[in-house]
Amino acid sequence: MSKLKDDRVSKETQVTKISQEHIDYLHRVRMEKISVRVIQILIFGVAFLLWEICANTKIVDPFITSQPSRVFNTMVRLYEDGVLFHHIGITCWEAFLGFVLGTLVGTIIAIMLWWSEFLCKILEPYLVILNSLPKIALGPVFIVWIGAGPPAIIVMTLAISLIVTVLEVLNGFLTVDQEKIKLVQTFGGSKYQVLTKVVLPASYPTIINALKINVGLSWVGVIVGEFLVSKAGLGYLIVYGGQVFKLDLVMTSVIILGVAAAVMYQGVVYLERMLVKNKA
């Protein structure tokens, strides 16, 4: 046993004195990080500034391109009319619901397909066809079946994200190391225990990846849905603005949409940090 002493030093505890070279290295890394961030902000600022200047000097026509000051004014006006957060809220809620349902239902279906190989074989060709079908084509069908309203929008979102989720997550399940499954079985583990002790936790990274894809897809679903049916929401504002040639309204909505989608994506990234702690 004595031979094991050095072997027992955990990788973490091998802390040595910090040298000047290392301090310099850390400094360089930090400076690079700061420069990247500064340039990113600069690009953003310059782009908006150019946009504003070009519109003011009539290099581009602000009637069709809008401009930052008009976007800002539009936002303020929407806010003063008391409808800004109404529209944002509706769209975000629909996107969130579609996103959660798509992930949840998709994962449940993936679990069923994992559980029964027979079922999986039967459903495979249908999954392939549904996956390649442009789901937007089903929009009118949903409206007729469900009626023009938020439920149709959410079903649209589901339709877009569901199959991708099923395939992604199932693929994750199937690539779990067979030997890890065998390990659980050697302890007499049941199929349910194989699922809960290995397959699901080992697939958290895959599921999170599916979530990241789904964030984008659920926004597509919601906006398409709102284009088709809605009377409120950011998608509605975009369509309405386009129809009455209020490009200020369109641009404002698009910008809010971008921010909302980014916030939701960051939410998933945060969730990832909480769930997937120790990526080996």
């Binding site: 072997d7 990788k11 065998k182 079985q185 050697t186 007499g188 002790k197 120790n278 080996a280």
Partner: protein
């Protein structure tokens, strides 16, 4: 006394669309309580299959396996299985990994937890119990894997190439280490390996299987004239070379 493991006329045929693979044919041997037995043979000769059958993970297509006289029909708490890799779950802490088997068997009690902690302390892993596997070295991880098996209190340990994923130096150390633990905890062990030296250094008997379909080709009794035998000290004896030559001849390797 009744043998702990009896293998009677065991045969195994795998079915596939391309035909039938006879992995094992007419295997007979038994293992006494406290014995350390190795199974060596060329790769693909059915060693893993044999362990899976003994553990009850898969059913043989002919013959029977008895554990202390009882016929094997499924997995048994009497058996602890060690796989080639440690397969520690990187989403669990060391302690949570050690508790896996107990959780699955639904036998987590405070005395079982104490047992786990005692084992971790005895084998120098207690201070790492709240760390994650990726913070441990290969040798330590393999020891955690053994403790994960030991806390379920198995009588018999099945080790399937349990050391072959380790580099040579680490392997020699882990051989000594695991041998020591197995002897201290008074377990019967059945080790599958393709490493002749490893099998001689650790075992009381070596069972040689032929290439597929695997049959028992020969059984070698291993005796060393030394006190406090360890795998490492066994390797330094004159008898070791002799056994190696014998088994090497028996294995009849062609490249």
């Amino acid at each position: 006394m009744k043998p702990v493991v009896e293998v009677h006329n065991v045969g195994m045929k795998y079915q596939s669309l391309n035909g039938e693979i006879t992995a094992l044919e007419n295997i007979n041997f038994s293992v006494q309580d406290g014995e350390f037995v190795s199974i060596v043979g060329p790769s693909g000769c059915g060693k893993s299959t044999l362990l899976s059958i003994i553990s009850g993970l898969i059913a043989s297509t002919s013959g029977a396996v008895l554990l202390s006289g009882e016929k094997v029909t499924g997995t048994s708490p009497k058996i602890g299985y060690m796989l080639q890799k440690d397969h520690l779950f990187n989403w669990r802490t060391i302690f949570q990994n050690v508790m896996l088997g107990l959780e699955i068997r639904k036998t987590v009690t405070s005395s079982a937890k104490e047992h786990a902690i005692k084992l971790l302390k005895t084998y120098g892993l207690y201070e790492f119990k709240d760390k994650y596997p990726n913070q441990l070295s290969g040798g330590m991880r393999q020891r955690v894997a053994l403790i994960r098996t030991l806390v379920t209190n198995p009588q018999i340990l099945l080790l399937d190439e349990a050391f072959s994923a380790l580099d040579y130096q680490t392997r020699l150390i882990v051989n000594d280490d695991i041998y020591d633990i197995i002897k201290k905890e008074n377990k019967t062990a059945l080790l599958v390996t393709h490493d002749i030296s490893e099998s001689i250094s650790m075992s009381d008997r070596v069972i040689l299987l032929s290439k597929r379909p695997g049959k028992v080709k020969n059984i070698y009794e291993i005796n060393f004239d030394i006190k406090n035998r360890t795998p490492f000290s066994s390797r330094e004896t004159p008898e070791f070379r002799y056994y190696f030559q014998e088994i090497w001849k028996g294995l009849d390797v062609h490249v």
